[in-house]
């Protein structure tokens, strides 16, 4: 079984955290540069898939991954609706400007980030559900 391969395990210890970090970077740069919720979610799921291959599917199957997708959908929808209430149209967007006190860091946070976070969770949750279910097949 591929699960017991020591080479894969050793490599996975490095690549899984690296891929997760990469996914966060791609997610954050997505507003102005290539990247964003969808591709970052796929990267995170790639990290998850590597983990499943190296360490087995049993531990991961304890968590119901589809809940992540549902929560992601909720976040994305709420972002649209909240903006509808504050005066702009449904699914319009604006940005939160905030100078962090003390360090004088100017935070520019577009509301599209929250929508993208929802997309990220949907993609990650759905792909993980598929991987785990396929991994459990035949057990």
């Amino acid at each position: 079984m591929i699960e017991h391969s020591p080479i894969l395990r050793t490599v996975a210890r490095f690549t899984v955290p690296l891929t997760v970090a990469m996914s966060v970077v791609v997610f954050m740069q997505g507003h102005n540069l290539p990247g964003g919720g969808f591709i970052a979610g796929v990267l995170a799921a790639a990290a998850g898939a590597t983990y499943l291959l190296a360490f087995g599917v049993v531990r991961a199957s304890k968590f119901s991954w589809w809940r992540l997708s549902v929560i992601g959908l909720l976040i994305a929808l709420v972002t649209g609706v909240v903006l509808g209430f504050v005066g702009v149209n449904f699914m319009d967007h604006t940005a939160i400007e905030w100078v962090v006190p003390g360090i004088h860091y100017h935070l520019h946070l577009p509301t599209a980030t929250f929508f993208d976070l929802g997309v990220y969770l949907i993609v990650f949750g759905t792909l993980m559900t598929v991987f785990v279910e396929l991994g459990l097949e035949g057990r």
Binding site: V70, L74, L77, N89, D92
Partner: protein, 609 residues
Amino acid sequence: MNALVIPILWPLFTAILLALVNGRYKLEKALSVLSTCGLAGWVFWLLWYVDQTDAGVVTMIVGGWEAPFGIAMVADRLAAIMLCLSMGVGAVVNAYTCWTVTDKQQKYFFYPLFQVMLCGVNWAFISGDIFNLFVAYEVMLIGSYGMMIVGASRSQIRQTLNYIAINVVGSTFFVGGVAVVYATTGHTNMAAIAQYTMTLAEGSPQAAMVTAGSMLLLTVFAMKTAAWPLFFWLPDSYPSVPAGVIGFFAGLLTKVGVYSLLRVFGMIFQQPGHELALDILLVLSGFTMLLGVLGAMCQWEIRKILSWHIISQVGYMVMGIGLCGSAHPAIVTMAVVGTIFYIVHHIIVKSCLFLVGGIAGRVAGTQELKKMGGVLDLAPGVAGLFLIAALSLAGMPPFSGFWSKFVLIRAGLHGEHFIIVTVAIVTGFFTLYSMTKIWSYGFWGKPKRERAAASYRGMMIPTAVLVVFTVFMGVFAQPFYRLATDAATIVKHPQQYIAAVLGEEALVGLPADTFDEALNETLDETADATAEPVAITVASTNQFDAFKSQSVRNAHDPRNVQVTDTKIAASDSGHTPETATNASAVPDAMPTQITHVDATPHAPAEVTH
């Protein structure tokens, strides 16, 4: 009106909520029914609201872009009627499924998927953008794939794969058609496309391209409505849908296609040569009707018979859309009114028949006609519900089916499409025959068991709601007729729709809205030409009614005061059948008043001068 996204968002939020409480089955049922009923109430309010506005159109632009570029959500009367139907039938079906759904189905997200399907259907009705319509179709289809495969038995997976395959092909055509239209017109907004196509010159390359794109869309919608020759997927896949929800599938999903046909070919594509699509639809409808009913006649299982009947009934609605190609404005109005009336009638009755068929199957323990029998003795109430719904489907007089068929056939006779009218009447007879078959094999005869095979009494309550509605709609047809007539004017006056979505200035350079004037000229002629006295009364009353409401909505001119008063007097007593008889009692007085109105151009047309 920012609230127009509610019919889309409400079911989606409900779906999320239901998915999060997955596992608590009773709570899930209760929440789902509550949410659907609540939205149904809101949607009926929306219909009232839209109906009492001047233009009869309520719009909303999603996102931060202006009308032709931002995505428009548009609720005109037609869309609001369709929303009411989808949520009304949705609520009924949702209540019904509380008795049929199994724990295993609920575990695999039965109710969240149902809500997603509702979301997609509502979205398709309210969308004012043709690419957005495509997205709505996809959402609806994803929900329906899930509903079909829930439980995942071997036969379900086989049928669902077919269903997915055919729909993926359909979606590809859809995107292709939208792409061609977009490349030619530069818009996906329905109002903007209509505005563009109305100004195209005869024989211009753009007109040809738009017609080509519209043919691709015609293929897609014909596939979704299950019109001949693309109906083969329907009788194959519908019987594997879980009990109860099949009522929603049968009633709504194919009718989304009919609605799109009416919207797209009745309103959006106005280029020279757009009649081609309507002529094609007229030919398709004849084959659809006849072959559908012939297929139904040789089936021996209730679900299969009813599935084939969906096809044959779709033929009538497509026939109505095809008759819009007539040059005669009175016939066009009649055809659109008939189509809308038929859609309303069909959605209610068809869902109802599937639900009653399901109950009868539960009582007898099987849906195979040859093994059934004696349901009349075992459960007389169920037999009564079935009888009314079946007679209504076949078009018997006191029920809604009669009026809808009557108007369509009358429009066909005036348009001198005698072949299609003959086919329609023959199909009606065959429909009656196959309903009689279900009745005599399933309901008459000696019961094959002592008592009902499963409990069924609770399920009769939601079903009875639909039966009551079809009786009500047949007996008090006039208010529904008035609504359908007003909805038809919106579809046949693209100028009003364009002005509501893009603003009055969008009408500059468009041909003036002469539909009413043309209708008025031909009105006397129509009345004289007919030899059926009863028929004249009904149809011409409605044309007058349409006129009056039309003229009052545009009566900003003091010269119109006289007519406005008449209208107020009429509306004070409500649009009851009594008003109708009053109006028809003085047919001589009416045309003079209308001619009077006619002398003054109404508001949208004034812009062009």
